[in-house]
Symmetry: C2
Subunit: 493 residues, 2 copies
């Protein structure tokens, strides 16, 4: 390991960028805005995928795969959709290269121009609804409950690893239903699944809510979302679920014969989470020493580092390490034994701190004599000498991993609670935003004009209208007009 | 179900196309050459992925993700690589659309032209080796054993679902090693893993071999492959593993400090299988009634169809079905109970035959009285009345699934053996190829000229130089020149 990370308190943004690179999560590629997800980072994403995929399947969804390319004309079939995406589309115009005249390079072959340009999918509603048209004739064909895991491209001008990249990985669910009620129910169900995933696996508390019109997905009737708070007090949208009404069914003429003998347009939803979740995971829990990973998503949960001089001691320590590994694996704990002789224990300690391995076990000759091991927690950076005769090691570590998972969640929750402020005047709003940051719960008059004005003046946006908020009489914090519910303001990623 | 499939004996190609569509495996999309993989087809692919991924990880590989886009200039860094791929590359030239002047459509924004065009990856050697340059300094950084699951694009002029599509899904392994020996060992290991996967899971016997120079991967020193025989006697290349020598290391300047204190270029391999395997699976085993799936890759292995009149009978039959399902699931057999009242049993029987479900269980009121069920095998289309008191049902079905898996493999193996012919003269070669088809084992003088000539005259190509073939003195079947080993000729997909 080279020198330490930048400190969060000094430069949060630099700290994040450096951490992502040094912990071997991702790096920039030669193509502007496109990232390489490195093996360690990708194995966290794989764990996220596995849990989400299980949750989708348990609620009746199946996976499929739709084309990467979308004919340009498809995009414009849904008016607000094209407006939302046209400005950031990678466009394929040719299908062949050829040698340059001097033979030294390749150039685009002008004779290989496509009749209609193709865009690389920024999201797949259009290509999927054009397919659904042929799959749906009758109410018997509904619901369609389909998800795909895919790469998508949005040509962003300012990019950051995981948080905003030109290409990213995601899943996009696209469902079709016979009634509006059923589609809304699906939309809400998926928001709840995302929230459950964030809280149970990412140890990330989230606020469930509804987006205002101006923050809504291009083509949706209503957008549900989950919003999380990062350690700098900024909000990060961690997942969205859209009720599409009949918008895409109308754009692509997807009708079905109803049970009652009529003909109606199908009701749709779409919902997605992306590799952006990696950014949320990193920024929510990590510290100035490196990553802090919740045990449920750590590529390995325990690392064993041997402390030894010479081969004889190594052999004895290894024997004990192997015993412990076997016990841990039996109960499903993932564990790595780092017996490389190319690096010293201190170097390894720092390395696994940087990489956020939840539990580190160190074993030296004195431990062998005393039947002890040293157990260190990554989240709290605390250590204990553990007497192996007092409790089976598998039991000890399993319960410790559960404690860590809960503690990380609770610590993020306390932080968010502490950084969420109810304000009732414009002065207070500006003061809290400037001096404390975090989420601001305030009344809003419900107009896009006020929303825009507040954004213009403070850079804070309405993250969502929280679902759990009670109705409450009040006055808009900016305009003073009447309001019946508080909404959540914050600066955001 | 609509009318029956075309017959294999009458039009094998049409039979294949229709089967893929009617069994809900895949269909063509609006974008030429790009397919939609439907949920039933995709769930077979997911099973393939899961097994392959497990095998890769068990041999020390990890997954990562590299960008979809490759700068055009990267492609030309390896001379033979660019020659192999430049003619079939989708090229991204712009990054934005805008409204047309009449406001009725969107057009490509001429102001949003990329400085350097990007190609959509046809394979990722170039972008990955440009990344490896920064990951490898010393022998301690080697080997790199990395795989990615991704979509790739090759702009093929003539496409067929699964077999040859403009976009397809695959995995591509890219490894880097300190020595040529180690890299060759890796190349051979991966060919062996592909062969094991094909035989154990796809029930598909394959010939392992080496490609001739003209069939080699663009940029490789040696290409290893597995070749399978389809029911029309044609060969299908089911997986390739390439020893890249130092070609890409030299093209991207990837050097490492050796253990001995020197500086050397890294040795590379790459290997891949794709959704083409779906085509192989379908064409190898299926019949005029529909798909025949090996139990290890079937989305569900058993379907239970109730035979009943009225709700009372359905309730009784359902009770028995639920009991059986519970028993089967306990031992890991996947099972579906189709109690839809919208379709008759005969319709369901045909539907599951078409979809290749390995075992069908039918239960009617008479069965309840006799404590029996009807068990039908998809592969042999045979039925038996099974007395539930004679053997636990879970044991019966588990062992039947094993038998089916083996029988499908053995049947494909017998077919291949029967259709593989050793020939020793040019007359015989032409006669066998024309009248019998299949694989022809023959001597070849080792020259590309003879290989080309034979291809030109007969459309047969050298599928591989089989690894299991013994050295044997002989004369080239075409030129009469001396040869020391037989090679395998066939027409191919």
């Amino acid at each position: 390991m080279s020198k330490g990370l930048p400190k969060r308190s000094e430069d949060y943004s630099l700290w994040y960028n450096e951490l992502v690179k040094r912990a071997d999560l991702a790096e920039n590629s030669a193509v502007r805005g496109c990232m390489v997800i490195k093996p360690y980072g990708f194995s966290i994403w794989e764990k996220m995928q596995a849990e989400l995929d299980r949750m989708f399947k348990e609620t009746g969804h199946t996976n499929a795969y739709f084309p990467l390319f979308i004919p340009k004309s498809y995009l414009s079939k849904e008016a607000s959709h094209v407006e939302g995406f046209a400005k950031e589309c990678a466009v394929v115009t040719h299908y062949r290269l050829k040698n340059s005249d001097d033979g030294k390079s390749v150039i685009v072959d002008p004779d290989a121009k496509l009749e209609e340009e193709l865009i690389v999918r920024p999201t797949s509603e259009t290509v999927i609804w054009s397919t659904y048209k042929n799959w749906v004739q009758s109410y018997r064909d509904l619901p369609l409950l389909i998800n795909q895991w895919a790469n998508v491209v949005r040509w962003e001008m300012r990019t950051r690893l995981f948080l905003r990249t030109a290409e990213f990985l995601w899943q996009e669910g696209h469902t079709a239903h016979a009634t509006a009620e059923e589609a809304v129910e699906e939309t809400v169900q998926m928001m709840n699944i995302y929230a459950q995933f964030a809280e149970e696996f990412m140890a990330l508390p989230v606020v469930k809510g509804i987006k205002t019109e101006s923050e809504r997905f291009a083509g949706a009737v209503e957008t549900y979302c989950i919003e999380a708070m990062m350690q700098d007090g900024k909000a990060l949208q961690a997942g969205t679920s859209h009720f599409l009404g009949q918008n895409f069914a109308k754009a692509f003429d997807v009708k079905f014969a109803t049970k009652e003998g009529g003909l109606d347009y199908v009701w749709g939803t779409s919902w997605g989470v992306s590799t952006r979740l990696m950014g949320a995971l990193i920024m929510a829990h990590s510290d100035d020493n490196g990553l802090v990973l919740p045990p449920k998503l750590a590529p390995f949960q325990v690392v064993i580092v041997p402390i030894y001089k010479g081969d004889e001691e190594l052999a004895l320590v290894s024997e004990k390490a192997n015993e412990i590994m076997a016990e841990l694996r039996k109960v499903g704990v993932s564990v790595k034994f780092d017996n490389r002789d190319t690096h010293k224990p201190g170097w390894k300690f720092a390395e696994y701190e940087l990489k956020g391995v939840p539990v580190r076990i160190a074993i030296g000759p004195r431990d062998l004599a005393n039947n002890t091991i040293e157990i260190a927690r990554r989240d709290t950076l605390t250590k204990e000498q553990f007497d192996l005769s007092t409790q089976p090691i598998a039991e000890k570590i399993s319960s410790l991993l559960e404690i860590i998972q809960n503690d990380i969640y609770n610590s993020a929750l306390s932080f968010r609670n502490e950084k969420t402020t109810e304000v009732n005047s414009w002065e207070e709003f500006k003061d809290v935003l400037e001096n404390k940051g975090g989420f601001i719960s305030a009344h809003w008059d419900g107009t896009p004009e006020t929303e825009d004005k507040i954004k213009e003046l403070t850079k804070a946006t309405i993250r969502c209208i929280p679902i759990h908020h009670e109705e409450e009489e009040g006055k808009c914090v900016y305009s003073g007009k009447p309001s019946s519910k508080r909404v959540l303001f914050a600066k955001s990623y």
